[in-house]
């Protein structure tokens, strides 16, 4: 069992994992955590006229747990993701349409090595790990579907343990021992778009957690001060040296562009 502070393994993201949806992505949290497949249909007709927004895009988020039916917890996460996406998606580009995001939880983290066994994702468990993966998966899905966005956002989960240590991306066992859990989402230019906390903590701890989450999302790779990254193709090392969530998203996008670069060239002229 490793009790290191940093994530031992970076999250994984693959774009376009489904065939029928307009855009899709599979996101796996660090250390084989919560895995979510996102399917994005955009732009589609709004099913109910009352939901139609005359000057913007209606965003519908659907989160489906891997077993059982979605309940209060899922509805809450859906609402949070919808509100976060509203701030990044350029909805006025496609008025009177719908951005439909379906998130399917495919696997949750479980640890049976301890007596009693611990499993994430149950109705009584925290929703913050699902929220983190779900938000990252929806952003990836939106990227794949060609949704126009102001900026790309990424989320990270930070736990504060009893002895005051900050753990980025805590595992299911570590989460049980944390006094508080925090989710922060940042856009690529470093602005905070989502904050969710659970448990008891001081304002100082919370601020520290935000810093840890910021570096987990933005990474520490060579960035210009506006958040842009020079993509010259030379920095292709995959070693984990401050590889943040946004770097993972960027790498997934790179892989996708390389994979069907030829087709895109043909269809874009």
């Amino acid at each position: 069992m490793s009790n290191t502070m940093a994530m031992t393994e970076s999250p994984k993201a693959i774009l376009h994992t489904l065939v029928n949806a307009d855009g899709s992505a599979t996101y796996t949290a660090a250390n084989n955590g919560c895995q979510i497949i996102a399917g994005v249909n955009y732009p589609v007709e709004v099913p109910y006229r009352s939901d139609e927004i005359p000057e913007s895009t209606f965003i519908q988020v659907n989160l489906r747990p891997h077993n059982g039916v979605g309940m209060v917890k899922e509805r809450h996460v859906e609402e949070l993701i919808m509100r976060t996406l509203q701030t990044v998606v350029l909805g006025d580009e496609t008025p009177r349409t719908m951005l439909q995001i379906t998130l399917q939880v495919v696997s949750v983290e479980s640890d049976e090595s301890l007596p009693g066994g611990v499993k994430g994702g149950g109705q009584g468990e925290t929703y913050l790990d699902v929220l983190t993966s779900a938000l990252n998966a929806s952003i990836l899905g939106c990227l794949d579907a060609g949704v126009q966005m102001k900026a790309v956002a990424g989320a990270a989960l930070v736990g504060i343990s009893q002895d005051g240590r900050l753990i980025a991306g805590p595992s299911v066992v570590q989460r049980k021992k944390c006094t508080s859990l925090h989710v922060f989402a940042f856009t690529s230019d470093g602005k905070t778009v989502l904050m969710e906390s659970e448990g008891k903590c001081s304002v100082g701890d919370w601020k520290q957690a935000q810093q840890v989450a910021r570096s987990a999302v933005l990474g520490t790779v060579n960035k210009q001060h506006n958040g842009d990254v020079a993509m010259n193709g030379t920095n292709t090392s995959s070693e984990y040296s401050g590889l943040g969530v946004l770097d993972v998203i960027r790498k997934a996008l790179e892989a996708r562009v390389i994979k069907d670069g030829g087709q895109r060239h043909e269809s874009q002229d």
Partner: protein, 291 residues
């Protein structure tokens, strides 16, 4: 309201004309299934099945509940199928389509009502406690053959699933975690497989495992459910009439295909079991129990 894009007349005629010459658009033989692939998750009872472009994810889970009043000695088994817009924009959230209804009813008939699971073995204390087994079917991509794909995936997931071991001491029930005792597999009575036949040109051309475009131009369909020995179910919901002899011929084909598919699933399950064993998980647990 969103709906599936109707197939164009040109495509329809093309497919039908090709089928008239015993040629399928994707080059398969008439009785050939698409590539079948099974992936098992880390957890027991997690299966992702790919049948060509169709992709189905099944999660089997168990919890302890009170048995039904009228069935005190039996556990509960349910299959939940809900088509979400992830598979196709034509599926709406919270609105059941006819296709969805047929899918869930057929699976219910094929697996649950054919007693694939021995529900009596799920009983812990008669009338008080029993296992409730739930299979959640998530269709991730739909390109035809949903019934066949879901059925294979559910049966594979049920065969892969392990429930925690329990011990009963009078009124007290102890549920052991996976780490304390080796989890037990479900007791399966048989392994049903659904095979869908599609009919064209008045029943002259018979196709197995039709893709979505082939499904859209067919005249009739028939779902046969078979296990390793016998026929469990015949479902023919409308469409053109089929000759009795054709039905008999289909039954023979279905039995052969069913055996083939069950063999494939068994092989994949065995592969997964060895993989898990080499990983040391099961060996470790067994060692713990020996002490």
């Amino acid at each position: 309201m969103p709906r599936e894009i109707d197939i164009s007349n040109i495509e329809r005629n093309f497919i039908l004309e090709a089928l008239g010459q015993d040629v399928r658009v994707d080059g398969r033989r008439l009785d050939q299934l698409r590539d079948l692939n099974l992936e098992f998750g880390v957890e027991y009872g997690t299966v992702t099945l790919r049948l060509g472009k169709t992709r189905v994810h099944v999660q089997v889970s168990a919890e302890v509940t009170k048995p039904l009043e009228e069935r005190k000695f039996e556990g509960v088994f349910s299959i939940v199928t809900e088509l979400s817009p992830i598979a196709s924009p034509a599926y709406e959230v919270g609105r059941q389509t006819e296709q969805e209804l047929i899918l869930s009813r057929t699976l219910e008939k094929a697996i649950r009502r054919s007693n694939a699971i021995d529900t009596e073995s799920l009983c812990i204390i008669a009338g008080a406690k029993c296992w409730s087994i739930r299979a959640d079917v998530h269709v991730l991509d739909s390109d035809g053959g949903l019934i066949d794909a879901s059925c294979i995936a559910i049966v594979a997931a049920l065969r892969h699933f392990r429930r925690p071991d329990v011990s009963v001491d009078g009124e007290n029930v102890t549920i052991y975690t996976m780490a304390e005792r080796v989890p037990v597999p479900l007791s399966m009575m048989h392994n049903p497989v659904c095979i869908t036949f599609s009919f064209y040109h008045g029943g002259e051309t018979i196709l197995l495992d039709a893709t979505r475009s082939e499904e859209q131009v067919r005249e009739a369909e028939m779902v046969l459910t078979v296990n390793d020995w016998e026929l469990c179910q015949v479902a023919k919901l409308g469409g053109s009439a089929i000759d009795a002899l054709v039905l008999l011929k289909c039954t023979t084909t279905a039995l052969a295909k069913g055996k083939e598919i069950n063999g494939f699933v068994a092989r994949k399950l065995a592969e997964d079991a060895t993989r898990r064993d080499v990983g040391g998980l099961i060996a470790e647990l067994r060692a713990e129990n020996d002490r």
